[in-house]
Amino acid sequence: MVHLEHVNLTLGGAQALKDVTLHVERGEFVFLTGPSGAGKTTLLRVLYGDLKPKSGAADVAGVDLMRLRGVQLPELRRKVAVVFQDFKVLPERTVFENIAIALEVRGVSSVSIDRRVRAVIRALDLEERSYAPCRELSGGEQQRVAIARSMVVNPELILADEPTGNLDSDLSRHLIELFKQFNTYGTTIIMATHNREVLSWAPEARQVHLVRGEIKPPPPGSPGSVLDTKPIIGGSL
């Protein structure tokens, strides 16, 4: 699903990604960890075609990111759904509209949109706020809308950037269960997170640890590293 080989990237003069090699197979569940400013978001942005690596080879869901051209970008983004760290919901649109938009751009019929949006709204406990504009939502509610928007399209790959930052323990746990469920149906999931609790809820997931743009072995004390049973692929260890 994701194949990065020796990817380098500079942002504003500094090297944001250094020789990153990462392979994620279809159906894997991967946690991306690392201190603040390590390059987690940058790596995810590369994966959804928002940033182009300076060098290396990159392929996501069969799309060659190094040769990405105008028309291919929408194609890539229809296969890959993203939960952004800063949510990126439309403040003036309702919860329903914000979630439906991901289906509308894919040309789904409105009957089907209605059914599918209602289902994710229920799954994320947003039913009460369905028709409220997103600007009137609490932080956690907005985050759930962003998550719902990524889930509603049934993508091949979900990239989730710190999706539990504004959720309490119970909701976070529920969310991880949802992601795991998607995962068992074949969706590949890459989730950046700081939260040690979250890592412990998905012990079967692989942990990829970034430090200053480089993939490193996870620190020994972290739950992920203790529970991680798969070898860390790539990185300069």
Partner: protein, 306 residues
């Protein structure tokens, strides 16, 4: 989602920034109104000039003391001549009194005012009536046939009139023609820069507004692109917005222009001007609407690209 649906969504989205939308609509309307006013002036000047240009005026002087009955018969013939537009005839006596009027203080408004002025100041030239040395004269206007070159045609007509019985001299003014041609040249010289200028203003106003509207909505555009929307999905609603703005604005401006024209007519169609300001012909009205809509649509497309 079908293009029609996207367009409808664009129109529906206009409610979201009602004030800027209204402002833009008004601005478009006003700029289109300015362009329309320019066209109106142009059209009316053109009409006026074309009317003048197509006519040739000859002044015919008969011999002093010619037989007035014979001359009057010739006048009657002249009035029936093909292509004739206007004939003013003067007996020697009428000519003298007309001449005296011509010398009286006159405004730039022309002979008509002079006549009025004299009437109002109650002038009386009877004291001049002695031994009248003036000939019978006629002022004749012809419509130049559209398929003829004006200059040679006037030369031939001059020869024909000169050949009439008892005619002493014929004068005509070729510079009048030059003048008309000059006017048209002037109008054309001024028209294109002026219309270009108006188009630039329309483009700038609409483009700038839509660009800023884009800026205010750039999050939305970004998010649409991030969830996989194709460019057209993002641009179509904006394009619809621009087109609707252009269309409504220019239609509204036509309504305003109609009022302006009625007002101008009521103001200008009075002595001494008697200018009948006409409304734009249909094709020009349509061109105005079309041009504004196109400029607005184009500006919205440009504004919608990154």
């Amino acid at each position: 989602m079908s293009t029609t649906k996207l367009f409808l969504r664009g129109v529906a989205d206009m409610r979201r920034f009602p004030l800027p939308q209204l402002c833009t609509l008004l601005t478009v309307c006003m700029v289109a109104l300015l362009a329309g006013t320019g066209l109106l002036i142009l059209h009316n000047v053109q009409t006026e000039v074309l009317r003048t240009q197509a006519q040739a005026r000859f002044q015919i002087y008969w011999k002093v003391g010619a037989d007035l009955t014979a001359v009057e018969a010739q006048w009657a013939d002249l009035k029936r001549a093909p292509g004739i537009a206007e004939v003013s005839t003067f007996t020697p006596r009428a000519a003298l009194s007309e001449l005296m009027r011509g010398l009286a203080p006159r405004t730039s408004g022309g002979a008509l005012t002079g006549a009025e002025g004299n009437a109002s100041s109650g002038e009386d030239f009877s004291w001049l009536e002695g031994d009248n040395p003036l000939p019978a004269t006629a002022l004749v206007s012809f419509n130049i046939p559209p398929d003829e070159q004006p200059e040679p045609w006037m030369g031939r007509m001059y020869a024909r009139l000169k050949g009439l019985d008892g005619v002493e001299q014929v004068t005509y003014n070729p510079t009048q023609l030059t003048l008309a041609t000059g006017w048209i040249a002037l109008v054309q010289k001024a028209a294109w820069p002026a219309l270009g200028f108006f188009a630039l203003v329309v483009g700038l106003v609409v483009g700038n507004t839509l660009k800023l509207m884009m800026l205010a909505r750039k999050d939305e555009v970004e998010i649409l692109s991030l969830v996989g929307a194709r460019p057209w999905f993002i641009r179509a609603p904006l394009f619809a917005n621009g087109v609707v703005q252009g269309l409504c604005g220019s239609l509204l401006s036509l309504v305003c222009l109609k009022f302006l024209q009625s007002w101008l007519r009521s103001v200008l169609d009075v002595p001494p001007l008697f200018l009948k300001v006409e409304f734009l012909p249909l094709w020009q009205s349509l061109a105005l609407v079309l041009a504004t809509t196109c400029v607005a649509g184009l500006a919205s497309l440009i504004a919608a690209r990154k």
